[in-house]
Amino acid sequence: MATSDKTAIRGIRLPSSLTARIFGILVGLAAWMLLAAVFPNNLMPFPLETLGLAWGLVESGVAWRHLGATLWRTLWGFVGSMILGTAIGVLMGVNNYSRRFFTPYVVIGLSIPAIAWAAVTTLIFGFTLMGPVGATVLTTFPYIAINVWKGVESIENDLVDMSKAFDITRPRMLARLIIPSAAPFLFSGFRFGLAISWKIVTIAEIFAASSGVGYKLMQTYQLYQFETAWAWAILFIIVILIVEYGFVKPLERRVFEYRRDADFALLG
């Protein structure tokens, strides 16, 4: 659906979305500079200094090694939690028995802190890939399951009845009706899952790894190199932005292509 670049609320003209975005970033940078001016430099460096430090990490190759390790663990943690969360979410949405069966696991899963899982999986799996990946899957899957469950529940009964009337089988209904219908919720779970997975892998790496951003952050903390922690955070943000705008957004645009046209249904 077409949106106007200029938005008016009660006669006040608001800036276009691009201007608003730039304005938001500038306000954030100003706040950062203000804080950097107030706090000691090693606690809160200025933005340009931080970028310089981040560039240094990239140039020396340290960033690639540790970001690569974190990304690899995040990928597996994310894939595992998406598979588990989506399967449980779909089952909870389509079947009352499954909903009652899984609800306690999801509720308990939501209440257990990531750090607890990280400690447990480190004890069980040691310094292997499964340590951080296990913690990530166990912490993230309930959030994804809840999103998918709500998505499946929101499916229009009329479409299910139509499918039954035309003798559509369950696998076809799942592929052609349930998953596309739950797609907005799946995307929301996807984003949320990815964001949480990052954070949990980082936490788990503090305990359960000898590489990765979490491990490096712990190291910088122990060595009082807080400015380097900020540099790692900047690198994190850059990777997240690349994933969001290079992968998630284009995929979302493709999946929701059918929504982009004007809704003429009300014209009769």
């Binding site: 009845d161 139509m162 499918s163 035309f166 559509i168 249904a265 014209l267 009769g268």
Partner: protein, 262 residues
């Protein structure tokens, strides 16, 4: 939406299975409620000849949707049964469904929406869907999504989808009641035109007497748990809504319709 679209439509390329008859045998339905068992209707016997356009009329709560759901195999009857029979005596009859709202998958194009209901048809090709879209006047809309169509056009896709499975019986549940009168009028004319071209039995539920008289060969009235009115429609087609014959028959039908108390 222009009702003139129908002029450009052809049905020559469609091979159609012949119409089937419908037989309701001692049909009854009760629902269990908190207050006890509530009877919707009982002991209904009815034979509908193949190729007949039947309208089932009833006031709100008369049970006409319940009856349609039983005929559609969506609900089980409490007693009795529904039998469909092809002209050759076989009982393997396809049922086409057209609902009150179009019930299209919004993420699928018109062609894909028709393809969706052809799961058990290994010979399905998109040209099949396109033929039926042509038939209902949607020649230039094959790859459009439902949101790109008007309400009337969406309902045309619903009709094309139902016809595309080559049903012996077409079951329609107030399909035009959500449309404005001008669009509904155009679709009624088109439905009759398509029905006359394809040999189909139509079981059409409505609460609109004018619509029932305009469309049907036979009008059934449901109320108080039974079929209390069964009128043969004597009017020739095409039917003029403002002709004396139409208005006289309408008066007679309305008197019969209101002959039972609420």
């Amino acid at each position: 939406m222009s009702t003139k679209q129908s002029e450009s439509v052809s049905a020559e390329s469609i091979d159609s299975q012949s119409a089937a008859s419908i037989h309701l045998e001692n049909l009854g339905k009760t629902f269990d409620t908190k207050e006890g068992t509530e009877e919707v209707f009982s002991g209904i016997d009815l034979d509908i000849e193949p190729g007949t356009f039947v309208c089932l009329l009833g006031k709100s709560g008369s049970g006409k949707s319940t009856m349609l759901n039983i005929v559609s195999n969506v609900l089980e009857p409490t007693e009795g049964r529904v039998v469909f029979r092809n002209r050759d005596g076989s009982e393997d009859v396809n049922l086409g469904h057209v609902f009150q709202s179009p019930r299209l998958l919004p993420w699928n194009t018109c062609v894909q929406n028709i393809e969706y209901v052809h799961e058990n048809n290994p010979d399905y090709e998109d040209s099949h869907a396109k033929r039926y879209l042509d038939l209902v006047g949607l020649k230039n809309h094959y790859n459009k999504y439902p949101t790109q169509l008007s309400g009337g056009q969406q309902q045309r896709v619903g009709i094309a989808r139902a016809l595309s499975i080559d049903p012996g019986v077409l079951l329609m549940d107030e399909p035009f009641s959500n449309l404005d009168e001008i669009t509904a009028e155009g679709l009624r004319e088109e439905l009759v035109r398509v029905w006359q071209k394809l040999d189909k039995t139509v079981f059409f539920v409505t609460h609109d007497m004018t619509e029932a008289i305009q469309l049907s060969d036979r009008i059934l009235m449901l109320g108080k748990g039974r079929i209390y009115g069964d009128l043969e429609n004597p009017l020739d087609r095409p039917r003029e809504l403002d002709s004396n014959e139409f208005l006289e028959f309408r008066q007679k039908a309305i008197r019969l319709f209101h002959s039972i108390e609420d």
